[in-house]
């Protein structure tokens, strides 16, 4: 089996979600990574060092600078016939591009797999993770997105794959990139953080997230949020953990002022240790938390901050 993995990157850095997809791909066969972008030689080199990768395809074009789905899909369709499986991380970029590839190849996509049973059989969550479906594909080429939390990250160093430059330039002429407003943060990315502290509606406003950030910085944690907090405008959409936001599985997840709607639980219930801090003892979040503290978060969080100073000193 030959497996193609679409690299997630920003033309400068190979994103860690790619490493999880490589681990899934390695279960299926020989792994080739496609790095398509603009001035992304450094990313191609980084991809060639990932353990378990046999080849890197490197495509340069203005058309690939911003991961526009129409152009990427055209490129992947041209390459796909050499592979049994084409995988991408289930990021917003992978989710945007891959169904387009599948439709152009007239095959199904298998979304957000969490386990590989065999070369054609996969497990994927449905109903916000409240059920798991085992599905078997009858298509010649399997188009797959990979849920990162279900597969360990491949080692970023240790490989020495050959880099092959490909000169396929596909500009569908349908779309162009205008600009982005990306959250700049010194903290770890939500999807790869070891510890996450998230706030919900109970935070009352955006300014109050500062007290979570203070705790986050003491723990080296990322800050997340529930949909309610994002809808209310406390924080931006990239903070959202849940069924339709980011799916995370850190070692420690601290839910603060979050009641625990099933849509939120869908995004974090595979965390190793879950802590709930909520003043409502009946909040559903306590039913899945390993440790709960029933208290007003505006008492508990400053106290947590002070206790961490003692414990971590």
């Amino acid at each position: 089996m030959s497996v193609l993995v679409l690299a997630e990157h920003d033309n400068q850095v190979l994103k860690s979600a790619t490493l999880n997809a490589v681990t899934a791909a390695a279960e299926l066969g020989d792994v080739t990574i496609l790095v398509a972008g603009k001035d992304c030689q450094g990313v191609a080199e980084a991809a060639s060092k990932v353990a378990g990768v046999t080849k890197v395809l490197h495509a340069e074009s203005d058309a690939y600078a911003n991961h526009l789905a129409e152009n990427f899909a055209a490129l992947l369709v041209e390459l796909a016939s050499d592979y049994s499986h084409v995988l991408a991380p289930a990021t917003t970029s992978g989710k945007n591009i891959m169904p387009r590839v599948a439709a152009l190849l007239d095959v199904a996509q298998i979304s957000e797999i969490i386990s590989i049973e065999s070369e054609d059989t996969f497990v994927r969550p449905i109903y916000a993770g409240n059920a798991l479906a085992t599905v078997k594909s009858s298509d010649a080429i399997k188009i797959i997105t990979v849920r990162g939390t279900a597969f360990e990250a491949a080692q970023p160093e240790g490989g020495s794959a050959a880099i092959e430059t490909i000169s396929i330039d596909k500009d569908a002429g349908l779309s162009s990139f205008i600009g982005a407003v990306l959250t700049q943060s010194e903290r770890p990315e939500l999807t790869s953080a070891r510890i996450i502290i998230s706030g919900g509606r109970g935070m009352q406003n955006g300014d109050n997230f500062k007290i979570l950030e203070e705790v986050a910085d003491k723990l080296g944690a990322a800050v997340g949020a529930s949909r309610a907090a994002v809808d209310a405008g406390f924080v931006t959409n990239d903070y959202q953990v849940g069924q339709t936001g980011k799916v995370v599985a850190p070692d420690l997840y601290i839910a603060v002022g979050i009641s625990g709607a099933i849509q939120h639980l869908a995004g974090m219930k595979d965390s190793k240790v879950i802590v709930a801090i909520n003043k409502d003892a009946e909040a559903p979040i306590f039913q899945i938390a390993d440790y709960g503290v029933v208290d007003d978060l505006f008492n508990a969080i400053p106290e947590l901050s002070a206790e961490l100073d003692k414990a971590l000193s």
Partner: protein, 249 residues
């Protein structure tokens, strides 16, 4: 301008689903059904565009058994002009849905298609992108803002790092994210008016589409359940447990 909106009937988002004991699927008998929440956002966006004078006509489509007409009526009550049902009791997977919608698009020639970014039952998040691909159109997925201009649409998209804006050629397919708008409730007079609006019915055969599933579901199981842990006295005890029992800090 004519807009096509597609809506899916599925288990209401508030229902706690149950896996069937024989592991063939999820129990849908005697369960409250509703319109997919992301599709409500799609309907709302189309109606808002019509109220702004940008859009002249909104056609709403739903695919599936007879009961889908209820979902179409809901969309008509929110402000869509007429409905189309593609009636089938067969299991429909995203590729088949995209092909059926393409068949409708060829009959209706809309300038814009709006669908939800994902259905909250199968969580596939594929249909809009697939439809766009089959039509050879552009796509604006996970949209949180739309600005329609002359032959082009600016789409602000919710992406993992924040927001990005792209400019896409029309006709195009838009898939809606949560922050695009807040869907309205249909008023009683509008619900009454909706009963008189036209719904045309087609079959997959009428559209020449083979809907045979490409993915066979071998089994559906329940995930491992988490158990509730300990409720602690105070934060000091929490920090002690995290450090000395769970060893995560």
């Amino acid at each position: 301008m004519k807009v096509l909106v597609a809506v899916k009937r599925l288990i209401d988002y508030n229902v706690k689903i149950r896996v069937k004991p024989d592991n063939t699927g999820v129990e849908t008998a005697n369960v409250k059904m509703s319109m997919n929440p992301f599709d409500e956002i799609a309907v709302e966006e189309a109606v808002t565009l019509k109220e702004a004078g940008t859009v002249d006509e909104i056609v709403v489509v739903s695919l599936g058994p007879k009961a889908c007409q209820e979902t179409i009526r809901t969309a008509l009550a929110m402000g869509c002009d007429r409905g189309i049902q593609v009636e089938t009791d067969a299991e429909l997977q995203p590729l088949a849905v995209a092909k059926l919608l393409k068949g409708i698009v060829e009959k209706e020639s809309p300038d814009l298609i709006i669908v939800g970014k994902q259905a909250i039952d199968d969580d596939s998040s594929q249909t809009g992108q697939m439809l766009s691909a089959l039509l050879g159109w552009s796509q604006g997925t996970f949209a949180s803002k739309l600005e329609l201009a002359d032959g082009m649409t600016n789409v602000t998209r919710e992406v993992d790092g924040g927001l990005e804006t792209i400019k896409i050629k029309m006709p195009c397919v838009i898939t809606t994210d949560l922050r695009l708008n807040v869907p309205r409730y249909a008023s009683l007079p509008n619900i009454m008016k909706a009963k008189k609006k036209q719904i045309d019915v087609f079959s997959p055969d009428d559209l020449g589409v083979d809907v045979t599933p490409r993915l066979e579901t071998l089994k559906v199981t329940e995930p491992q359940k988490r158990k509730a842990g300990a409720v602690l006295e105070n934060v000091a005890e929490l920090v002690d447990k995290l450090k000395n029992e769970a060893k995560v800090i």
